[in-house]
Structures are given as C-alpha cells and as structure tokens.
C-alpha cells in the first residue's frame, strides 16, 4: 500500500533524515537506569538513531552520553577507565567529562591549553523512573522531561524491561497499534498467562473474533479502539493510545498491572523495545514482579547479562510445533513478546510496504503512518513542533470499558484515557 519513497521516509532515522529529525524532537529512552548502577561503574555503548555513543556515570553520580570514539584517533572509549570524574581513553590516556569536554591530554605539556579546544559530541542523559532518557536534538529546542505515568508513579508501582529486536522500528510499532493480531497470535496467553488471566474482558475477547476498529485523533497521536460484543445492548471496547512517535499502551485486563511499550530505533534495521508494567494506585506484588522478571506478560526472558531474548532468530525462537498443534500457542512460540518479535523480524529488517495488502483492521496503521509523515514534513518545511513533544500529551492511559451500543467510544472513554494520579485504571 505504501509508496517506496514514503516507506523510506518513515523507516530511515539516521542523522539528516526527515524521520531522524522528527525523532530528535523528543526525549527518548537511551538505556535502563540499572545499566549504570553506581558511580564509576562500567560504561555502556549506546547506539540510537544510528549514532554510536557511550553512556557513563562519573564519580559524582553525573550521567553522560558522549561520542563513543576518542577525538585523538578514533578508538572506542568503551575500553576506557571510568575514574575521577571522567572517562579516560585506554589508548593514550585522553580524558573526557560527562559534557564531552576533554579535560586531560597527559602527553601534552602542562603549560599548553590543548585540551580546552577538544570536545566530543554530547547529549543530556537524565533519569526519570527506571529509564535514562536522552534528547538528540537542538539544545535550544529541548522540551520538558517526559511525563508518562509509568515513570511518574512511585518506584514500587512500576517495572520496566527492555529487549533487542532485529528489525526496523516501524514494523515493531505497527504491531503495537494492530490489536487485531491479539485474537490469533496471542490467543493462547489470555487463559494461561499469570499477568492476564481471570478477567471478564478476556471472555468478551474470546467470544467475538471479529472486532470492529475505530480510530480517533488526539493532540499527541491516536486512540485506537477495538469494539467487541459484550452483554445484550452493550459493547466491550479496548482502547489503545499511541503517543508520537512510538509510545503505546495495551488496554488493561482486570486488576492486573497495565503495560505498554516504547520503540526506539537503534539503526534502521534494529530497535530497542522498552516494556513497562505499572499499577496506578498500588505497589506491584512480589508474584507479579517475579513473573515480569521471568518474561511473562509482555516482557521477555533475556540471555543473562544482555538484553537479547533467549528465544531469538538464531534458534528459531524455540518454536515448538507440538505446542502449536495442541493449541497452547497459536504459533508454537512462547510468550507474547517473542511471538511479536518472531513475526515482525520474519518480515525482514525493513519490510517492503509497497507489496502489502491492507484490510479494514489496519486503519490504525494507515492513520499512524499518515500522522508521522505529515509531522515529519511539517517539521522539515515549516519547523512545526510535532505532536507528542509537549509533556501534556504524555498523560494518557489505555482503557477497557463496557458501553451501551448507542454511546460513541470517544465520549465513553474521555475520562478513562487521561492519566490521573491516585485514580485507578478503567478496566473490565
């Protein structure tokens, strides 16, 4: 459905591309706070929007995100020593602080002022919730910090994991706004997953396999609503907010914690999936947390010490044909996250969208592409700040709700889709 040039526009996010410029308007997750657990800990290589950077936490607890490579002759500073408020290159001892400023070149005479003129590219790195966020755009345009509810509730109410996905960010995002695949790909999970099972909404989900989709514009993105039959005269609505460019939230089930994702381009053929789970009004229970750590719900079980899932494309995602035959999993792949990853990666690193055949359930995808394209062009041509930059746009929630047939969903969920501190989610 998509013309080649628009597919390229939407999928390329490196420096100097139009979608890259769009992403550079937003605060984005650069890494999890747990990756820099203490002062002077090991630095971490971070690739984001095709830029290769190094994150470190200095002796005073300041976070830095600087060019990965030494200004001298281009070796990676990842091999360096994080000591005495700076990262020191392992090659010739050049040292940089968290602003990228070179503060010492040991081989040069102390009287000289050589290092004052050496500064690496550097970006802000700020902890909000469990995430270290960065902003790669023009410092003069830097927006206020993110206000998504999952990073603003108390620590004991929220958990975030991440995993590496080996495909372009857009096909991962499109999975997040396409609720119609849940009925098939994830059907096995509604009954069995400890983070999903036992809600009335699950019965409605399973009782109506042909949901009808409606999409409504919001200031920050879209609301994508799936409508299914509930009791006589009523519909069961599952409403997913998308906040530009890549935040989505899955509608809740019962009193389970609510989850969602942020997809961050690593380069054009890889992305990070940040997955969060939080409860607006209560701490997560030990059981819930241990299930999240174990890869239940929408989280993944990763290779220890890495953020690569144990089930990945090198082992065919540990696909189990027998489990597929028995109907435990629709695709034979275990776990919602890996079910999504396996199929989205199977499309190839950047899917050729000129060949796809879209249907009525793809309305959310069509609308999202159009909003992204228009925002990228408006930014490039008129400097218009895109939707989703203003933190006001972050204060959204997903909702699951039963409404009478005659009530339009936008009206019925108007309050439910606003994040309100201290107020529980609207759920069925």
């Amino acid at each position: 459905m998509l013309r080649t040039e628009i597919n390229e526009l939407l999928t390329q996010t490196g420096p100097g591309t139009r979608m890259g410029d769009l992403f550079r308007q937003y605060w984005m997750p650069a890494l999890l706070a747990e990756e820099l657990p203490e002062n002077d800990c090991a630095p971490v290589r971070v690739k984001i929007l095709s830029e290769r950077l190094l994150a470190f936490r200095d002796s005073d607890g300041r976070y830095g995100l600087i060019d990965e490579f030494c200004a001298h002759r281009g070796v990676s500073l990842w091999f360096g020593r994080n000591e005495e408020s700076g990262i020191r290159c392992a090659y010739h001892g050049w040292k940089y602080d968290v602003t990228g400023q070179c503060v010492e070149v040991p081989s040069e005479p102390e009287t000289g002022n050589f290092c004052a003129n050496v500064k690496l590219r550097a970006y802000p790195l700020v902890k909000v919730g469990d995430i270290l966020w960065t902003y790669l755009g023009d410092p003069a345009q830097q927006p206020p910090l993110p206000e998504f509810e999952f990073v603003r509730v108390p620590d004991e109410q929220t958990y975030t994991s991440k995993r590496w996905q080996e495909c372009n960010w857009l096909q991962a995002l499109e999975g997040g706004i396409d609720s119609s695949h849940v009925t098939f790909l994830h059907s096995g999970q509604l009954n069995s997953d400890p983070l999903f099972k036992g809600s009335k909404g699950n019965d409605y989900n399973k009782g109506d396999l042909k949901p009808f989709f409606e999409v409504a514009d919001t200031d920050g993105g879209l609301l994508i609503a799936a409508r299914r039959n509930a009791e006589e005269g009523e519909y069961y609505w599952r409403v997913t907010p998308w906040v530009m460019p890549s935040f989505t939230m899955v509608p809740p089930r019962g009193d389970h914690p609510v989850h969602g994702h942020i997809w961050v381009p690593i380069d054009d053929e890889n992305c990070w999936v940040y997955t969060f789970d939080y409860h607006p009004v209560r701490p997560l229970t030990d059981d819930e947390l241990s299930h999240m750590h174990a890869g239940y719900g929408v989280h993944s079980e990763n290779v220890p010490g890495t953020y690569r899932p144990m089930a990945n494309k090198d082992n065919d995602y540990l696909m189990d044909r027998e489990a597929q035959r028995r109907g435990e999993q629709f695709s034979g792949v275990k776990g919602i996250a890996i079910q999504d990853a396996s199929l989205q990666e199977s499309m190839g690193p950047i899917v050729d969208r000129t060949k796809e055949r879209l249907v009525a359930t793809d309305t959310g995808i069509i609308k999202a592409r159009q909003k992204l394209r228009k925002a990228a062009l408006a930014l490039a041509e008129q400097g218009v700040t895109p939707p989703g930059v203003d933190p006001e746009h972050h204060r959204v929630r997903s909702a699951a709700i039963v409404l009478p047939h005659e009530q339009p969903f936008q009206e019925g969920v108007a309050e439910a889709v606003v994040a309100r501190p201290g107020v529980a989610q609207t759920t069925v």
Partner: protein, 108 residues
C-alpha cells in the same frame, strides 16, 4: 440502469450497467473490469480501487469525503492527481449515468 465506463491504461473502455446504490468499485469487480482490485472489500483500507474521474463527472462526484480515503490517496496510490478517488467510496446514482473513470496501469 446508469452506465459506468472504465478506461484502462491501454485505452480500452469497458462499459458496465451499474446498480444504483452500489459503489463504482463493486460495479467494476462484479463485471470483471480489469485493473480494479478492491482487496479490502470497500472499506477504504487498501487503496487498490484508485481511479481518475473524468470531467465533467468529477464535479458531481467531488473530492474525497472521508479522512481515510484522503490518507490512502496520499500514501498509497502510484499517481495521485486532483481527480483521484477510491472507487469504493463513489456511490452510483441515476445522475451519474455515463460516469467515466480512468484506471491506472497499476494498483498498489
């Protein structure tokens, strides 16, 4: 029955007797007119029933009414022109008797 004429990129015209109330896409697919696919069944979701509406009918038919049609014409079709429409969103009426549309060589 109003007549609808579809002109292919090779210049070959197919004339169809259409039923009032059905869409220009359905009238084409029912009668096997080449070049109109209508993959999504008329939901303005796939963009495979794109046509260029000839004068003077375009004035009667008007521009896209639905957001989604506008999006699909923007994103999907190979050659959007000022008279582009998705034929699934044009309803056949008696007044449109003689409606003539050009069918692109390729649907997305």
């Amino acid at each position: 029955m109003p007549k609808v004429v579809y002109v292919g990129s090779d210049g070959v015209a197919s004339a169809v007797d259409a039923v009032v109330g059905e869409s220009v896409m359905v009238a084409a697919t029912k009668n096997g007119v080449p070049g109109i696919v209508g993959e999504c069944g008329g939901n303005a979701s796939c963009g495979t029933c794109h046509v260029w509406v000839r004068a003077p009918y375009f004035e009667q038919v008007g521009p896209p009414g639905e957001d989604l049609e506008e999006d699909l014409l923007d994103l999907g079709v190979s050659d959007r022109r000022c008279n582009s429409r998705l034929s699934c969103q044009i309803q056949v009426t008696d007044d449109l008797d003689g409606l003539t549309v050009d069918v692109p060589a390729e649907q997305p």
